[in-house]
């Protein structure tokens, strides 16, 4: 009982630090508030470790190591975050041998913040000044809205748009939808021809979150002393009802995403569009090679005609993990990695990352037409979408669990039982119990 209370107090302390300024928490070596005094350069040569699962990132880091003989960075790798690297970070934080720097996706950052796994690098050289370089919404992801606090450097983003089969739409004489109403009308016409307008994925709950994000919805918010869980917010319900209608009328296919079946549906032209993030461009071109030259990209359909709202799916940050002995140098490297044009170009070429800086969106490497998309300069569409992403979206501290529970419900819907709204309500209840089980306060 005593133990439970004390963890609760720690959790409360950390949580209030989330909204107020750095309030000292009593676990770990340092306290979040004293980072300002700590962030000074070290004497002599510094060696840093950096864990990231981005393929080919070692080549980008080599560029840095050549130019900075006094700050040498070693790349460590592992499976993607939820595949094991996050769990490893927590184990390593516990054992006191976490790497200096780690890749963390935006939706996992709150978990690390609540568990006090991140260094506050706000006092480090150049961090606060770099704010204006980054796309607005990404900055809120790494500061959690706290004053004088920055817990990571934004790395990449996944602004969403609509990939569609230009040739099929033209041949069928269907106008390219610009609103969700038109999208549904197009879906009916496409179904009449035997195709599906798109696929509803059971497990990509963060994709669905991107749609809610576009609709102006929120799944989580933090009032300073408690979390609000709003998976069933009106905006969320609006998106759910819309897709429930498409599923109910058999206007979308239901194959599991990222499978051969799914690739095949796009490759054979049975699925016509995909609302997806910028990095999806590569997924289509490799999954549906036979359709090369027939695709195009348009902005996401809108809830109200004339608007330009966009959602975001994915993206990650480079965080300085708690206990790093060299936050100054680690921060310097993280800022270079995610703002330097040479680094951003290399990240894009090696791993298809889409920058999180405003200047990065106009990199020469992103300006050219892409042959797979009929030589359309598709990244212009995403650059515009990037500026239209609602800056205030907040992720919760237990996203892995939330995703799993909502995906269970979505699976039921695709199998014919329940509704998407019920799945979200159920996910909401499960999330609240999960938060309470971790002694994280929840507003009722």
């Amino acid at each position: 009982m005593l133990r439970k209370n004390s963890t609760r107090i720690v959790a409360l302390g950390v949580l209030s630090a989330l909204a107020l300024t750095g309030c000292a928490s009593n676990s770990g070596s340092g306290s979040s508030g004293s980072a300002a005094a700590d962030c000074a350069p070290a004497d002599g040569k510094v060696e840093l470790s950096f864990t990231s699962w981005i393929p080919g990132i070692d080549k980008v880091v080599d560029l840095w190591n050549e130019k900075n003989p006094d700050i040498q960075v070693t790349v460590q790798t592992g499976p993607n975050g939820n595949g094991g690297t996050y769990k490893n970070f927590f184990n390593q934080l516990e054992a006191g041998n976490a790497p200096d720097l780690g890749q963390i996706e935006y939706d996992a950052l709150p978990n690390f913040r609540v568990q006090d796994g991140l260094e506050n690098i706000a006092a480090c050289d150049g961090v606060l000044d770099s704010k204006d370089q980054f796309i607005d919404w990404t900055w809120n992801q790494v500061t959690f809205g706290e004053d004088d606090a920055v817990y990571a450097v934004p790395q990449d983003t996944g602004p969403m748009a609509m990939y569609y089969r230009k040739d099929l739409f033209e041949k069928a004489g269907i106008p390219v939808p610009t609103t969700w109403d038109e999208y549904q009308a197009a879906a009916e016409k496409i179904r009449a021809q035997g195709g599906y307008i798109t696929n509803f994925p059971q497990n990509d709950v963060n994709w669905f979150a991107g749609l809610v994000w576009q609709a102006g919805g929120q799944w989580f918010s933090n009032s300073g002393d408690a979390w609000n869980v709003t998976l069933d917010s009106p905006e969320s319900a609006k998106v759910a009802d819309y897709w429930q209608g498409l599923i109910g009328d058999d206007l979308v296919s239901k194959v599991p995403a990222w499978t051969d079946e799914w690739n095949n549906a796009y490759n054979t032209g049975s699925d016509w569009t995909w609302i997806s993030a910028v990095w999806g461009a590569n997924s289509i071109s490799t999954g549906a090679p036979d359709t090369s030259g027939n695709w195009a990209v348009a902005p996401m359909p809108q809830w109200n005609a004339g608007e330009k709202a966009a959602g975001n799916w994915g993206g990650s940050s480079t965080a300085v993990l708690k206990g790093s002995e060299h936050p100054y140098e680690a921060t310097k490297f993280a800022l270079w990695l995610n703002t330097d044009p040479e680094a951003l170009t290399a990240l894009n070429q090696e791993a298809n990352l889409y920058p999180a800086t405003k200047d990065g969106l106009t990199l020469p490497v992103l300006a050219d037409g892409v042959p797979f998309y009929g030589d359309q300069a598709i990244y212009d569409v995403f650059a515009e979408a990037s500026g239209e992403v609602n800056p205030d979206f907040t992720w919760g501290p237990t996203m892995t669990q939330t995703y799993a529970d909502v995906a269970d419900g979505f699976g039921g819907v695709l199998g014919g039982s329940g509704t998407l709204t019920e799945a979200l309500k159920n996910g909401q209840e499960k999330t609240i119990s999960a938060l309470e089980a971790q002694s994280i306060p929840v507003a009722k």
Binding site: P55, N88, D260, N264, S283, P289
Partner: protein
């Protein structure tokens, strides 16, 4: 396991045609025999099919080019690109895959070899020497059989962290040497197949205890040792959780962890999918070789047991 243990008591050719000798005595048996045999055959064929189907799929998929992989039937051959695919796999990312294979062979081969020696010596000692606390030690080892290796991975990580040895070759290799089931098997087998009289005789001839173990007991225990070796080899080869927790340096990964890491990057770099599949196919080949080349030791062990 019981099959291997009870096998030495039975003559190898006795299991060949048990129905044939019975049918000579009972004239009405053939019909029954035919039915039971065909039923048995059906069960065998179905389960054989069931177990081999995924391997066949893996083989077929490994021979296809990336374009054909998605667009052709998964169980039917298309253009045969196996060797080209393997070449690409070995070249990708400076040949990191070969490094992983080498690591796996080292972890599993050396680990199973040393682990088998340790298990054999411990099991032999528990079977053949009387000392206080013998049963207690054996019971503790038996208890160890019940603890899944996965449950020990995190405590091991924390222990290795304290001595600063995580992310090293030893952090995966040393824990792999321990095999309580091997000790159990070696003890049971040693007490059944190594006669005390033989040990007495060698002692009278002036052979030391260690020499007796390595020259006499080892030979008598060969079938059990091969079994222990194979089991441990497969267990280390397939061990995934411990390397996942311990290792961060890509050049230390065993092939299981490497493939898993690649597989988790498929959304980012879809081309990797091909490498995951071919890599999975290539990674089962050493296991097949290990089984096929070591199974004859089982037979020779059976033979030498029956002659005695």
């Amino acid at each position: 396991m019981s099959a291997t243990l009870s096998a030495p008591a039975r003559k190898p050719d006795a299991s060949g045609e048990p129905g044939a000798s019975r049918s000579n005595r009972k004239p009405r048996a053939p019909r029954e025999k035919l039915m039971s045999r065909s039923a048995a055959m059906i069960v065998m064929v179905v389960s054989c099919f069931y177990f081999l189907l995924p391997v066949w799929w893996l083989f077929v998929s490994s021979t296809k080019s990336r374009e054909q992989f998605g667009s052709t039937n998964g169980f039917l051959l298309a253009d045969f690109n196996l060797f080209q695919n393997i070449g690409n796999l070995f070249a990708y990312n400076d040949g990191i895959y070969l490094r992983w294979m080498l690591n796996s062979v080292l972890y599993a081969g050396a680990g199973a070899l040393i682990g088998t020696v340790i298990s054999a010596m411990a099991g032999y000692a528990l079977a053949k020497y009387r000392f206080p606390g013998r049963e207690l030690v054996f019971n503790v080892v038996l208890g160890g059989v019940l603890v899944p290796a996965t449950a020990l991975a995190l405590p091991l990580f924390l222990i290795f962290s304290q001595v600063g040895a995580t992310n090293t070759f030893w952090s995966v290799f040393l824990p792999s040497l321990v095999n309580p089931f091997g000790v159990y098997l070696a003890r049971i087998y040693a007490s059944a197949s190594v006669p005390d009289e033989l040990l007495e005789a060698s002692r009278l001839d002036g052979s030391g205890e260690v020499r007796t173990f390595f020259t006499i007991a080892r030979k008598l225990m060969t079938p059990a040792l091969v079994t222990i070796f194979l089991f441990q080899f497969v267990a280390i080869w397939n061990n995934f959780f411990l390397p996942l927790i311990m290792l961060r340096d890509e050049s230390l990964f065993p092939v299981t962890l490497g493939l898993y890491t690649w597989n988790s990057q498929v959304n980012q770099i879809p081309e990797i999918r091909t490498y995951v599949i071919i890599g999975a196919f290539v990674s089962i080949i050493p296991l097949i070789i290990a089984f096929l080349s070591l199974q004859r030791f089982w037979q020779s062990g059976l033979g030498s047991g029956s002659v005695k």
